[in-house]
């Protein structure tokens, strides 16, 4: 490819990987938290809600710095995970973690909205038909909340593609390992004369996101069609 240099390609490939992993890996937890916030009453609900929103409120640097403190190689948590074969610090896995955390509030909010919109009467109907809580969730709540799950995933993916502040703070900007598209753009913008390359990456970034959006809209439309005929 002549449009992008090999390093730029590496950044694109890395970003895709980071965003995809961040989105998919946080999906189950996101669903759980969204369901809890939407339907359960428990002490600490307000605190959980605040915690989920935190990455939105804090400047990304702060989030990144906190991640560094919690998951850095010198921190017990980070060291422990590294011992378990999941090193995070200065690795793409850490970039995925940072992106996932930054995207988490968006993902949870979308899912929660959709779960709240599911008619509890249908869940009750499923229960009378013998479905356990888990089965009700999997066969009724989740499928009916799919538009929100999809929206949450798209938001998370887009956010992960664009995440920069927390990522660079947590895992730095190492080519091939943690230099995602936004980090690369930033680096290009910092160095005199890098504007052209930055622009090319911006274009790629937009292209990827538009494709992801189009895919999600198409899926959503199929879902909607399915529901009405």
């Amino acid at each position: 490819m002549t449009f992008l240099g090999p390093e730029e390609w590496a950044a694109v490939a890395l970003s895709l990987r980071v965003a995809a992993v961040a989105t998919l890996a946080s999906l189950p937890l996101g669903l759980l938290v969204a369901h809890a916030l939407a339907r359960w009453r428990f002490p600490g609900r307000a605190a959980l809600n605040a915690l989920v929103h935190l990455p939105l409120i804090l400047p990304p640097v702060v989030t990144g710095y906190l991640l560094l403190l919690a998951f850095g190689p010198r921190a017990p948590l980070g060291a422990g995970l590294e011992a378990l074969g999941l090193p995070l610090a200065f690795r793409w896995t850490g970039a995925a973690l940072a992106s996932a955390i930054m995207a988490f509030p968006l993902m949870v909010r979308a899912m929660r909205l959709s779960i709240e919109a599911v008619d509890p009467g249908l869940e009750a109907a499923a229960a009378t038909l013998g479905a356990s809580r888990a089965r009700v969730f999997l066969t009724v709540t989740l499928p009916l909340a799919l538009p929100g799950v999809l929206a949450g995933a798209v938001l998370a993916f887009a956010k992960a593609m664009g995440e920069f502040g927390a990522t660079i703070t947590f895992v730095s900007n190492i080519p091939g390992e943690t230099r995602t598209i936004p980090s690369a753009i930033w680096a290009f913008l910092q160095s005199p004369g890098g504007d052209g390359a930055a622009l090319r990456l911006v274009a790629v970034s937009i292209g990827v996101a538009v494709a992801a959006l189009a895919l999600s809209e198409w899926l959503a439309q199929r879902l909607a069609r399915r529901g009405s005929a």
Binding site: L68, L69, G72, F90, N173, L189, Q190
Partner: protein, 215 residues
Amino acid sequence: ASLGGVLDEVAAEYTAGTGEAVAISYAGSSLLARQIEAGAPADVFVSANPDWMDVLEEAGLVAARTELLGNALVLVGPAGAPALEIADLPAELGDGRLAVALTEAVPAGIYGRAALTSLGLWDALSGRLAETDNVRAALALVATGAAPYGIVYATDAALEPRVAILDRFPPESHAPITYPAAALTQAGAPFLAWLRGEAAGARFAAAGFTLLPGE
């Protein structure tokens, strides 16, 4: 961060010469310093801010330190603007703003503030600043015309066609602008030596940096 580009070229030559790959992580000095503190697997640290190098040195993380490069501070305006003495800034600024990196936090801003203070212009200008999070953003303000003038490094100004250097700050008006470099591990020593070598020196000089004798 101002080292971006040149450093890439230097590293590429190093790799070509030694066969050893070099990975460069660009980020703000404060960020990198904190990451090193937190255990980042870095061998060499080049900083735009001597203060953060001091912090690492005190923490005992620095194996060998050297003052690698120097830079100069210039006053820029839009390309084609008439020349302007720094001393005339307060008068010429009108209701425009002077773009500069954060004067309390970012090295280029700290130097700029010192320079303006020693030239006796700080009081007149301190309320008319537009401070950004890095030099390049300050440069962008001038390049896009949002701010009529800005204080940036000579190296940055040289490569932005939309701005012109109007005046240079006298080197004695601020603390010397130095880019300390340090090997953090034994493995970092050869690359640090390469940075101080002739081939690298030529590159840095071409980009507008001054080469410092070290120590």
